[in-house]
């Protein structure tokens, strides 16, 4: 894939990832977010955090299935947008919902399992965002960087659990996210298992599946 196509695709992804924020901004400005705007903002930023986490996690399986190696070059920006919406979601909770009531916030984080899970998911994303720069990737070296960035699995699980635990009765949306996450993580587990079995019985495809199983960011 030529570089200028990648640039074009990146611009499209930037625009697409900003649509939910633009929608909130436009409707918020026009007082068009319904009776409970804070609830709408909280729901929306949370939804897009999870959705973008799922997209981030689907890059590797998609690359393995399609063989389109350049897909990996889009992963970091999508992951950072997931973190961006997580920050908005967290800020909405701290500011608009709780209005910096630190006592109530800390009680919530300790006492309310769904907030504990959401907070955990958010905190786990912070080191990933901080080590997403080229310099940090180089400094940490491939293997350690990779190990650290497996935290995204835990973060996504915590995020989906957070969603399951907060709904009153209708679990359809958390169930959809849960299913997608199970498929994405299941694919990784299968690839890993396959590569382990292959290496044990020294199948010929050892090389290729091992390369697929342990991904290295190529610049």
């Amino acid at each position: 894939m030529k570089n200028r196509y990648i640039v074009l695709i990146k611009i499209i992804i930037h625009l697409a990832c900003l649509i939910p924020l633009a929608w909130l901004g436009y409707n918020g400005y026009n007082d068009n977010l319904g009776a409970n705007p804070i609830e709408v903002i909280t729901r929306s930023t949370g939804f897009w955090t999870l959705a973008l986490l799922m997209v981030t996690l689907s890059v590797t399986p998609l690359r393995q299935i399609t063989g389109l190696q350049w897909l990996i070059r889009l992963r970091r920006m999508i992951g950072l947008y997931a973190f961006f919406y997580a920050c908005l979601h967290f800020t909405t909770y701290i500011w608009l919902d709780q209005f910096f009531d630190l006592e109530s916030i800390s009680k919530d984080i300790v006492k309310r399992p769904f907030i504990t899970a959401g907070f955990t998911g958010f905190v786990l994303l912070i080191p990933l965002a901080l080590t997403s720069t080229k310099g940090m990737v180089r400094r940490l070296t491939g293997k350690r960087w990779q190990q650290l960035h497996r935290l995204i699995y835990l973060s996504a699980i915590a995020g989906v659990v957070h969603f399951f635990w907060l709904v009153k009765a209708d679990i359809s949306q958390p169930l959809i996210f849960g299913t997608i996450l199970a498929l994405l993580l299941g694919h990784r587990a299968t690839v890993k298992l396959w590569s382990m079995l292959s290496s044990r019985f020294s199948f010929k495809n050892y090389e290729s599946s091992n390369r697929a199983g342990t991904e290295v960011v190529k610049k």
């Binding site: 009776a35 409970n36 804070i38 009765a169 209708d170």
Partner: protein, 320 residues
Amino acid sequence: MLIKKPSDIKSSEITDKKVYLNRRKFIAAATASGTAIAAGLGVSRWLTASGETQSGAKLEGVIKSPFSTNEPMTPYKDVTNYNNFYEFGTDKYSPASMAKSLKTRPWTVAVEGEVKRPKVYDIDQLIKISPLEERIYRLRCVEGWSMVIPWIGFPLNALIKLVEPTSKAKYVEFITLYDPRQMPGQHSSVLKWPYVEGLRLDEAMHPLTILAVGLYGEVLPNQNGAPIRLVVPWKYGFKSIKSIVKIRFVEHQPITAWMRAAPNEYGFYSNVNPEVDHPRWSQARERRIGEFRKRPTLMFNGYGDQVAHLYSGMDLRKYF
């Protein structure tokens, strides 16, 4: 984004009722036709259905009540567009359009069970058993938001006195219409249908407990529980069951829809209580719709003087 308090809004800034009603009509017509098609209903059916709903008609001869609060009322558009009514979808914004498929005439309410005079009331007959009153009540949802709503209705005890409960009647059970064709949300198994609620007989007899048939001086919009619903202002909103077709007087405590769905989270009493949290979230504060900062939730939603005696000696943590 600016979130205004009701008191900050000048009357000149409030959308003229005619304008938003026209807008509502347009949106309603557009969405009603959409849902009718989606539900696989014929156009002719939709045309007849729209003629049979009365929501929005003015209610005459309504008297004021000393039980009303003088707090600022939640705007009409919020009261009628932000509804928990799972029979029309679990999203709070969907009942306003989805509930157009509900036919509120003809409608009957069967009053039965442990009563000397069981009777099937026609809705138009039922609303005449007692003078209609305006009751401006606070409504506190279990989710942590609240409204102030000018209901029109009459005390439930007027009906109870007419049917004369027997000595065996200890509880009253209320049942919502079950008809998935009119209530598409009932195709989903999110709750066990029909929706069931219940009160102890003394709670049902309490003068604050009303059967509401209108709000803001008009016939109840479908999404607010037309043609007749319960309003129990000191309990969480889900106790105030909508679109009632049956009222049964029973000896044993009924199992309500939410008790069945999550028995550890929703009890029979469900009195508003800032000291007893929902197992998953705090009930200490609430956001009044239209306000930015949360306010403290009041014991029994501020109706403690009138109702606290009903629960004297009871452990409200156990009987939540």
